[in-house]
Symmetry: C2
Subunit: 352 residues, 2 copies
DNA sequence: TTGTATGCGTTATCAG
DNA sequence: CTGATAACGCATACAA
């Protein structure tokens, strides 16, 4: 493989001049430039990115650590982030953490190893106890939860408020016995900070505000928030004779399963039971019935996360006064569809 | 940031010894090793991956170029590939090409720049005319189509056979006027090699074998294979009074839209119209009605693709006799669900 | 406008 | 078992 030296020799110039041509430096005579370009073409020269990275101390790549790409939610998020990063000429490398704390820390450490210029970390496995570990000397943005007041930039969803709005929407549509399908946790007594628990809090607040009782029997905790688990859960709720007329699902994915489970059990949605999800994944609009949900404005979140990260990367060298850590909470809207009795037209109710 | 030299100094050894410790080389005395490890911990040392890459001429990262991560199909594929790559200690960096030929070539060139040790390329935009461009001197595996007899390894789906089986399944279930919802193309007169056209070919073969006429009015070509396009298409088919009792959708994604569109039009599936898709994305099982489809065994494809790529990477240096280019075609099965009159239990019909 | 010298941090080689 | 030396390919600072 040809190096910059080979090109220099072939073009009868110095390596420096070749470098200048490659990087579009202004001070190169046209004739020289063309001579060099010709030599590059002749030798099929390619820059060696590893060498350039070493020299510059930058890789032009940021890491994105998410639990899994193969999910409507994280897939969409990843796509939005890749798109946003492009505007900063940043490549995105996705790490799947499988929601494990271990792997999330691994991702942090890869970034530390300077494989990445920075890291966008969607924490699911790490808890407040790990805040200390986030005190690293390279750019990190936490995405998707609102758990750390901590030492890093943070882009979050209004989990509690939005869940309250979702539940309130069910109440406004006449539901009185509203179940929640949530993820694991919620029984430790400590303050819970995972997405599922935050959304549960919002649900509780809405019930309280409306003066509805909080029946523990209406709380369904699943090990995993998958479609399969949602379907099993819904079937079991019906089979066991549980009395409910509404379901708030903490993610659209699990809501898809719930809709399927209710159909299996012969329960009509929205006539007998109304269902609302959270995330507004692409599929929601095309289910039968279409799924009412919370839209947390992924694109804005993704843009803001990349913006923050790019900013930190920029000011990493100059020793400028570090900007304060920022916390950005996205706006949200309630998307009303058939599963709560909406019609085809999507009504939006903006909140923030 | 501490370097290997700093650690060496702190531990009172040479840089080489530190390197040996880091890389678990056998010939290091235990006492020395511990001295070094202590120094590393004290200085919070991290290897500089860029320097290592430069020195070794490898990055330990492979590229995966797909049209988009935010799709049930490619999301699942990406997840499978990441998992498979892990077993070879290879990191995967996803490039979104947006199905554009330009971006697919860009990905090739990044690989050429040695950012990646190799590339798995899911071609959609490139055509047979670009075969020449694949003649590169670094490892590449083409994934997902069966278009190039060409100069690279190739992991493909049995698009034609599987589509024929899907269509035959509709016929066996009693359909006689079977529509196909396919992507753009198919009117150029030339031999078409994109996924959609290959699947169309399988559809035609099945009709011919069964002695059914091929009515051009039953062929729906969509600009994009999205849920939205599928829904619009299905509504329009019904509205226009088209006579059909079965639909073969070339992807599950578009099939999801079609199911929704038929529901909008008041058409009952499977009683009035039967529907089958292709890909067996996770959602298919949980739709109402659940979607019959083709399962092309993604996991095996992903594993084989990574295996081939890792093999090429391995034998890149030694100047060994290059192994012949390989073409791997996965097995498939027909998954029968409610949309073609199946019951809850998934019946599988293995083919390959 | 172009060239020279130097070092980024690591590891392969080989000598001790 | 350990260390000295060199080189991976590029870009920065500075000199010419």
């Amino acid at each position: 493989m040809a190096t910059i030296q080979d090109v220099a020799k072939a073009a009868g110039v110095s390596a420096m001049t070749v470098s200048n041509v490659i990087n579009d430096h202004p001070n190169v005579r046209k004739a020289t430039r063309e001579k060099v370009l010709a030599a590059m073409a002749r030798l099929d020269y390619r820059v060696n990115v590893a060498a350039r990275n070493l020299r510059k101390g930058r890789t032009g790549t940021v890491g994105l650590a998410v639990p899994e790409v193969n999910s409507p939610y994280y897939g969409r998020l990843a796509a939005a982030i890749i798109a946003a990063a492009e505007r900063y000429s940043l490549r995105v490398c996705i790490e799947q953490t499988g929601a494990s704390r271990e792997n999330e820390l691994d991702a942090l450490s890869l970034s530390r190893n300077r494989l990445y210029d920075g890291l966008i970390l969607s924490t699911v496995g790490m808890g407040p106890a790990d805040v200390e570990l986030l005190k690293v000397d390279h750019p990190v943005v936490i995405l998707g939860e609102r758990i750390f007041g901590g030492p890093v930039d943070h882009v979050a969803m209004p989990n509690i408020d939005a869940s309250e709005a979702a539940t309130r929407h069910l109440i406004e549509r006449g539901c009185r016995r509203i179940a929640i399908v949530r993820g694991p946790g919620g029984d430790s007594g400590e303050e819970e900070v995972d997405v599922s628990s935050l959304r549960f809090t919002g649900y509780q607040q809405a019930l309280r505000s409306a003066g509805l009782p909080a029946d523990p029997g209406l709380v369904q905790s699943l090990e995993t928030l998958t479609m399969r688990a949602g379907a099993l859960c819904a079937r079991e709720m019906v089979r066991s004779g549980l009395d409910f007329d509404g379901v708030f699902c903490v993610t659209d994915t699990v809501a898809m399963g719930v809709l399927r489970g209710l159909a299996d059990a012969g329960v009509r949605v929205p006539e007998q039971v109304k269902v609302i999800g959270f995330d507004n994944v692409e599929e929601s609009e095309f289910l039968v019935p279409s799924l009412s949900t919370i839209d947390p404005d992924h694109d804005t979140m993704a843009r803001r996360a990349v913006e923050l990260l790019a900013g930190r990367i920029e000011q990493t060298e100059p020793g400028e006064p570090e900007a304060d850590r920022e916390e950005f909470v996205s706006r949200f809207s309630v998307v009303v569809r058939e599963s709560t009795g909406g019609n085809d037209t999507t009504e939006r109710e903006d909140k923030g």
